[in-house]
Symmetry: C2
Subunit: 125 residues, 2 copies
């Protein structure tokens, strides 16, 4: 008898579940994107973190165009089955689509700090 | 002249922005919850991570009832202004509302690993 494979609950938010991406070695949080059933299956089949692009409305295998892959080390899910944590090894340089002034792709999308006075500090200018 | 204070873009998803909560010391990802403008302001005013409970439809200052506060160390925002990263020090025991078999509140909501065969491994049983 086959046991059913685990799946996140894709029904809660119209088929999409947020996926937090974390560098498995450094612990740094790199990005957050959205995963549907198709992206979930593709991630598990390929070992490459894959999302559903809500702007382009298509499967988004991170790295396929940029070369900046996110190789899955471990997948975790939360207590409510409605959030995914991809622990990854980034291949290439960065997870973010923005670049710093040196022309390098930023490693993390979370490169800006909000100060207590409401101003912004860019940690990777 | 006062510079406007930074705010995430709350208009993208009906007023709510996902907030990833990370232990600032260990790097562990603890939970993900939702923040609206009111929760954002409350977090910045109090230094306590505060969310909008989408199930109870009310402001949810984490710790107010459980004693398990998440004290803000640093707030970061992503490149698209639509995801927040709260780097925190947890006060009390855990961030999760579930308990392990020893009766302890689990530190992280992401205590389950999805194995390559689709089975689940509980890392904090």
């Amino acid at each position: 008898m086959l046991e059913a494979e685990y799946q996140p609950d894709f029904n809660k938010r119209g088929g999409l579940v947020p996926a937090v991406v974390q560098d498995a070695f450094s612990g740094e949080v790199l990005m957050l994107a959205w995963v549907n059933e198709s992206a979930w299956n593709h991630t598990r089949d390929t070992g490459n973190a894959t999302f559903w692009s809500t702007s382009r409305n298509e499967l988004w295998e991170k790295g396929a165009t940029s070369g900046d892959w996110l190789k899955i080390v471990e997948i975790r899910v939360d207590c409510d089955d409605d959030t995914i944590l991809f622990r990854v090894t980034p291949i290439g340089f960065g997870a973010c689509h923005t670049k710093n002034q040196a022309g390098q792709t930023r490693k993390s999308c979370f490169f800006r700090q909000v100060n207590s006075d409401g101003s912004i500090l860019n940690l990777d200018p």
